[in-house]
Structures are given as C-alpha cells and as structure tokens.
Subunit: 203 residues, 2 copies
C-alpha cells in the first residue's frame, strides 16, 4: 500500500564510503552523503537512526570485500597470517575509515565471520578455552593497533621523520631506531610484528 523506497542501505553505504574515501573522515556528514545520493539530509533518517548508524554502515561496506573464508594452504600460523593480511589489505584501500574501526568493529557481520574463521584456525592449532580467547584478543589488538599506527601514527611518515630528527643526546635509541624504521617498508613491518606474535603463540 505505501509508497516504495527509492534508496536501499547498500546505496547509502556505498555513497557514504565514496564520500569518505574522497574527502576524508571530516567529509562524512549527513548533508554530504545526501548530496552524493541527490537527496536531502533528512531523507537519510528514513534508513538510519542517526549518524552513528551511518558510520557503522560505512565500516561494514569498507570491510565487505574481506575474504572471510578459511584459508586452506599452509600450517596454522600461515593460515592465521593470511586472514590477518586480508583484513589489513582491504582496510588499506579505505584509510579514512580507520578511526571508525575500533568503535564499530563489533557491529560488523564481516568482522564476526572473519573472527569465526580465525578462531577455527586457532582451535586447529590446539588452543581452547581461555588460552584461545587471549590469543584472539592479542591478534585483534595487534591488527587494530598496527593498522592505526600505519595510517594515523605519523600522518604517514612525518612522525617517524620528526623522531629521527630528535636530539641524539636526549633520545639516542629513539633517533637511531626512527632512522632505521624509515627504511622498513610497511608490509615488512606489519608482517614482522605478526610473525613475532605467531612465534609467541607457537610455544
């Protein structure tokens, strides 16, 4: 009986993701997303309760193309690494959503499926109960933290450069390490940290 809807949540999520990809996090406004859809700001409230829910939609849309199926090749450590890297790669395509991840992570079906796959691998590795819960949180913490450091930490490079320029008298190790760090590419850095974690899990 009623008038049919002219938008759907996927269109809204896509538009919002486009806005944020193009203009950064500060461009994500109700009015901005509405304009992208040739609609008005208030119209969006027929589909989302508030801005918070719009953010959750963006996060889910950004994560949607993470492959959450269980990897089959390699031992369990390699399979964990594959899952974690898949997540990182996809997030890397939408760096502006990084600040939204910690807040909306637990509402995303993709994150749930991904976590389920991760836990399955950990179970195969012989981890169960509390030890598995701790292992999961450690992997989650590292993943979230590393991705944030990568994208927010130095506003991509500036922070590390600034640290490398610190007085070697006051901060000898920091200045030296920052100089070293500039020569490590982000992939190697991420994988290196992940490997440390996986070595720790294996023993």
């Amino acid at each position: 009986m009623p008038r049919p809807r002219s938008l759907n949540p996927i269109q809204i999520a896509s538009a919002a993701l486009a806005v944020i990809d193009q203009g950064g996090l500060s461009a994500l406004t109700m009015r901005g997303v509405a304009k992208e859809l040739n609609a008005t700001a208030m119209c969006l409230y027929r589909y989302v309760a508030d801005r918070d829910e719009l953010e959750a939609l963006v996060v889910e849309q950004a994560l949607a193309d993470v492959d959450t199926t269980a990897p089959v090749d390699g031992d369990w450590r390699e399979r964990v690494a594959v899952l974690v890297r898949r997540m990182r790669v996809v997030i890397g395509c939408h760096p502006a959503v990084v600040p939204l991840l910690p807040v909306h992570r637990h509402r995303s079906p993709t994150v749930l499926r991904w976590t389920e796959s991760l836990l399955a691998v950990l179970a195969e590795a012989g981890l169960d109960g509390t030890r598995r819960a701790v292992a999961l949180r450690a992997l989650l913490a590292y993943t979230v933290g590393a991705i944030q450091l990568e994208h927010l930490g130095p506003l991509s490079g500036g922070g590390t450069t600034a640290m490398a320029a610190l007085s070697p008298a006051e901060f000898p190790h920091l200045a030296a390490t920052a100089a070293d760090a500039r020569r490590v590419d982000p992939d190697a850095e991420f994988d290196g940290g992940l490997e440390i974690l996986l070595r720790g899990l294996a023993t």
Copy 2:
C-alpha cells in the same frame, strides 16, 4: 611591558582533562573547557592554536604521570612488561582520552621518553637496527590496540556479551570463545597477550 597572562598551559590541560574525565570525550569543547576556567572560549586561543592542539594538551596531561624511568629489576622481558603496564594503568585512569591517543601519541614528550626507555631495554636484549624497529612497532601496536579494545571495543563488556549470544550454529567458535572471554579479567587478558608477544621476541 605587556599585560601578564592569567592562565598557563598546565591549567588549561588540567581543566580540559577534568572536563573529559567527567563528561566524556563529547564534553571536550572550547566553551566547556573555558567555563571550567571561568574564561571565555576565545580566550583559549591565546594559548592553543586550535582544538587539535587542545586535544594534544589533554593527551600529554593524561599521560604525564606515566613513570618513564627505566625499570631495573628482572630480565629484559620483565622490564618491557613493566613499562608497558605502566602506560596501560595510567591510561586506564582516563578512559575517555583513549580515542585521542592514536592521533596525538607522537606529539607527547611522555610517549617519547617512554619509547626511549623501551628501546633501551630492547637494545640490552640484543635487538638492533631493523629488528629493533619492528619489535618496537609490534609492542606499540599491541599496547595501543589492546587498550582500545579494552575501553572502546564493546562499550566495556556489552559486545562480548552480544557475541556470546550469537547463534552457535552460525558462529560456533565465536560464541564459545566469547563465553570463555567473559571469565577472563582484563589484567590477565592484557598480560596474557603481552606475554605471547614477549615470547615471540625472545626467540
């Protein structure tokens, strides 16, 4: 010759921290902080360039009582753990600043001194060059990530509870692990993850 200042950066930082501790991150506004100081919003701009700089001040103030001196007791792994735990405890006293940490971390002198101490311990452990840089980033990523998960993840507990209530048919491992996770206290969880990382660093 000029009129003397009636405020100083420490007063502003303290007032801002008080505001955010009491009213949460959303209470941190120029007007709100000004009211706390019995001043006007515009007055603050004689001391900080913009809101961003005020946030940096809050972060530094919140972290100010982290003891960044090098621990002396225990082997290097224990000393790393002591430094990391000191940071976590202090941040735990100001949970509302957690979302500001990733953005302003690299501007904080306290973080610089803390990092310097951490690197010194890693150097004693025989790590140098690229390997030390990677180890540091891994520890940083875990620390930042774990603290965020702890304070933002589930709005403290609700998310884990929601996950425990998921359909065991669709998410068997997740539902079980979430149920287990509810019985792990936060300190043990954090220390457990940290220990995994340190074990990985030791080999």
